[in-house]
C-alpha cells in the first residue's frame, strides 16, 4: 500500500515537473519570437526611411546615380526576402547596410546637403535605426542563446526532445568589411 502511494507521489511530481519545464520552454520560445519581432519592426523602419533619404540626397548630388540604384536595389531585395529565415535575412540586410554606408560617404562630399535640416533629421533617424537594429539583434541573440542552452541542457533537453522544440537561429548581419553600422561623420 505504501509503495503504491510512493509511486503515485513520484508520478505526480514528475508530471508537475514536466508541465513546469514545458511551460518554461514555451516562455523562452516566445521570448525569442518577441525579440525577432522587434528586429523586424526596425528593419521595416529602415526600408521606410531609405526612399526619403535617397530623394533628399538626390536633390543635391545628381551625379551619383549608381549609388542610388545600388541602395534602392539592396532595399527592395531585403524587403522581398523579409519572410526568410534569420541566416538568409542577415545576408541581404548586410548588403543593404553596406550600400547605405556608401550613400552616406557620398553625402559627405556635399557641404550644402550636410547643412540641410531635413537631411540632418533623416540622418539622426537612420543612425538611431541602425543602432536599434543592432541592439534588437543583440537582445535577440542573447534570447536565442538562453533558449538554446535550455534545449540542450539536461534535464530540460528531454522535454524539448519530446515536444520537438527546435533550436533558435542566430541573426548575424554579414557585411564583408564592416560588421557594425556604417560610420558616419559630419561635423
Amino acid at each position: 500500500m505504501i509503495a503504491l502511494w510512493v509511486i503515485l507521489g513520484i508520478v505526480v511530481i514528475l508530471i508537475i515537473w514536466v508541465i513546469g519545464a514545458y511551460n518554461g520552454l514555451v516562455g523562452f520560445r516566445n521570448l525569442v519570437k518577441n525579440a525577432w519581432a522587434q528586429i523586424d519592426v526596425q528593419l521595416k523602419r529602415r526600408y521606410d526611411l531609405i526612399p526619403n533619404l535617397v530623394e533628399t540626397v538626390k536633390g543635391y548630388a545628381k551625379h551619383e546615380r549608381e549609388t542610388f540604384e545600388l541602395v534602392t536595389k539592396a532595399r527592395n531585395l531585403a524587403q522581398q526576402s523579409s519572410g526568410a529565415g534569420a541566416a538568409e535575412r542577415g545576408k541581404v540586410e548586410g548588403e543593404l547596410t553596406q550600400a547605405l554606408g556608401r550613400l552616406l560617404v557620398v553625402a559627405e562630399a556635399y557641404p550644402e546637403l550636410k547643412a540641410n535640416q531635413n537631411f540632418l533629421a533623416l540622418q539622426e533617424e537612420l543612425t538611431s535605426t541602425e543602432n536599434k537594429i543592432s541592439f534588437s539583434r543583440q537582445y535577440y541573440n542573447d534570447s536565442v542563446l538562453k533558449y538554446n542552452n535550455k534545449i540542450q541542457m539536461f534535464p530540460s533537453n528531454v522535454i524539448a526532445g519530446m515536444f520537438s522544440f527546435k533550436q533558435g537561429e542566430f541573426f548575424e548581419v554579414n557585411v564583408p568589411e564592416q560588421k557594425e553600422a556604417p560610420k558616419v561623420q559630419f561635423t
Binding site: 543612425t127 538611431s128 543602432n131 543583440q138 537582445y139
Partner: protein, 405 residues
C-alpha cells in the same frame, strides 16, 4: 542572464527585513515607554510606515518628478534623447517605453523612477544633453534603464520610506521625551507601581534605539544604494556593449561645476551621481549614497575582456581588492560578449565646440540686453540685427537667401 538580480534581491530583502525589525523594535520600545503597551507603539510604527509606503508607491514617481521640476517630452521634442532611450529599451528588453522627462538645469544629471518596468519614467537635465555625445548619453540612459530593469527603484522607495519612518518616529519620540520630561518632571506613568528597574531598562533601551536606529538604518540604506549603483553600471555596460561611454559620461558629469538646484537629501539617491556631494571624499565613505565616481570609472575602464556581468565582476574584484559584487552562479551562465567600437555620430560634442557654444550663449545674452534682434536662416545661421537697422531685408552671406527682418 538576469539571474544576478535574484541573488541581489535576496540580499536586499534580508537587509530590508532587518530595517523593518529595527522600525518595529523602535515602535515596541516607544510604545512601552509612552503608553505602557508595546502593541500601541507597534501600531503607530506600522501606521506611519504603511501610510508613507502607500503614498510613495502610488504617487512617489509623480512627486519626485514634480519636485525635480521635470517636464515630459515626446519623440519630436528631443529626437536624439528619445531615440537613445528607445535603443536602450530594445537592448534591455524592457516591456514598455518609459516616459521621458527633461529638467531645465545646466548641471548634468539623470534619474529614473517608477514602481515597475511597465510604469517607469526617466529624467535627464538639459545640461547632460548639452555636454554628452551619443555614446555617453547612451551609457547614462542604459544605467537608468538598468535601475528600472533591476527593480532598484521599488526597493529604494520601500527602503527609503522605512528609513524615513524610523527617522520620524525617533525624532518625535525624542522631542516628547525631552519636553515631556521637563514639563512633568518624569513620565506620566511613573507613579504607577511596578516601575523601578524595568522602567529604567526600557528608558535606556529606548534612548539607545532612538539614537542608533536612524543611523543604522541610514547606513543600511546607503549600502544598498551603493551596491545598486554598481549593478546599474554593470547593466549599462551590458546593454550598450560599450563601457567607455558611461565612464566618460561619469567623468564629464562629475567635472561639471554646477550643482543641481532641484535636488535635495530625499531625492539624491535616485540620481546617476549624487547631486549634493562633491567628489574627493574617502573611497569607503559609509555615509554616501553613491560609490566614488573615480572608482566607478576605473571599474568600467578595467572591463578589457568584454561586457558581460562576469567581466564587470572581474573588474570590480580587481579594483576593489577582492570584494565581490555578484554571486558566482549569477555570472557563470553567460557566454563571452565583446565590446563594440565607438560610434562616430553627428552629435559629437568636443571640448572646443562646447566652449564656443558657451561663449556664443553669453554674447547672445549681451546682445539681447542691448536690444539686438535675431533672424534665423534656414541654413542654420543666426543673424543679429542691431537696434538702429532700418531695412526690411538682409541677405544671408552663408547661403545667399533673402531674409525678412
Amino acid at each position: 542572464m538576469w539571474e544576478q538580480i535574484r541573488a541581489n534581491r535576496i540580499r536586499s530583502v534580508a537587509l530590508m527585513i532587518f530595517m523593518a525589525a529595527l522600525l518595529l523594535a523602535l515602535g515596541y520600545v516607544l510604545g512601552l515607554y509612552f503608553f505602557d503597551s508595546a502593541v500601541g507603539g507597534l501600531i503607530i510604527a506600522a501606521i506611519v510606515w504603511g501610510f508613507m509606503a502607500l503614498i510613495s508607491y502610488f504617487q512617489g514617481d509623480s512627486i519626485l518628478l514634480s519636485m525635480a521640476k521635470a517636464r515630459k517630452i515626446g519623440p519630436d521634442d528631443a529626437p536624439r534623447l528619445y531615440n537613445v532611450v528607445e535603443e536602450m529599451k530594445i537592448a534591455s528588453g524592457l516591456p514598455k517605453m518609459p516616459d521621458i522627462y527633461i529638467i531645465d538645469d545646466p548641471a548634468p544629471n539623470a534619474f529614473a523612477t517608477g514602481r515597475n518596468p511597465e510604469k517607469a519614467s526617466l529624467a535627464v537635465t538639459t545640461g547632460l544633453l548639452q555636454r554628452c555625445n551619443r555614446d555617453e548619453l547612451q551609457g547614462v540612459v542604459a544605467h537608468e534603464i538598468g535601475h528600472i530593469k533591476n527593480r532598484d527603484i521599488l526597493f529604494m522607495i520601500i527602503a527609503g520610506v522605512m528609513l524615513g519612518s524610523i527617522v520620524i518616529l525617533a525624532w518625535y519620540a525624542s522631542r516628547f521625551m525631552i519636553f515631556g520630561g521637563l514639563a512633568s518632571g518624569g513620565r506620566r506613568s511613573s507613579s504607577k507601581d511596578g516601575g523601578g528597574a524595568g522602567q529604567i531598562i526600557i528608558l535606556v533601551v529606548g534612548l539607545v534605539l532612538m539614537i542608533l536606529a536612524p543611523i543604522v538604518a541610514q547606513l543600511i540604506y546607503f549600502a544598498m544604494s551603493r551596491k545598486r549603483e554598481y549593478l546599474a553600471d554593470a547593466s549599462s555596460a551590458l546593454y550598450t556593449r560599450y563601457p567607455e561611454g558611461l565612464a566618460s559620461a561619469l567623468e564629464k558629469i562629475s567635472a561639471a561645476p554646477q550643482a543641481l538646484k532641484s535636488a535635495n537629501q530625499a531625492t539624491a539617491p535616485m540620481y546617476i551621481i549624487n547631486p549634493l556631494h562633491k567628489e574627493g571624499r574617502a573611497a569607503t565613505d559609509l555615509t554616501s549614497t553613491h560609490p566614488p565616481i573615480s572608482e566607478r570609472v576605473r571599474i568600467l575602464r578595467a572591463m578589457a575582456g568584454g561586457v558581460a556581468y562576469a567581466d564587470y565582476e572581474h573588474a570590480y574584484e580587481e579594483i576593489r581588492k577582492g570584494k565581490s559584487l555578484l554571486s558566482k552562479a549569477a555570472v557563470a551562465s553567460v557566454g563571452a560578449m565583446g565590446i563594440r567600437e565607438a560610434s562616430a555620430d553627428s552629435g559629437t560634442v568636443d571640448p572646443i565646440a562646447e566652449k564656443a557654444a558657451r561663449s556664443r550663449e553669453a554674447s547672445d545674452l549681451v546682445l539681447k540686453m542691448n536690444q539686438y534682434r535675431t533672424v534665423d536662416c534656414d541654413c542654420g545661421a543666426r543673424w543679429k540685427i542691431p537696434p538702429g537697422f532700418k531695412g526690411d531685408n538682409i541677405q544671408c552671406t552663408r547661403c545667399g537667401r533673402n531674409l525678412k527682418v
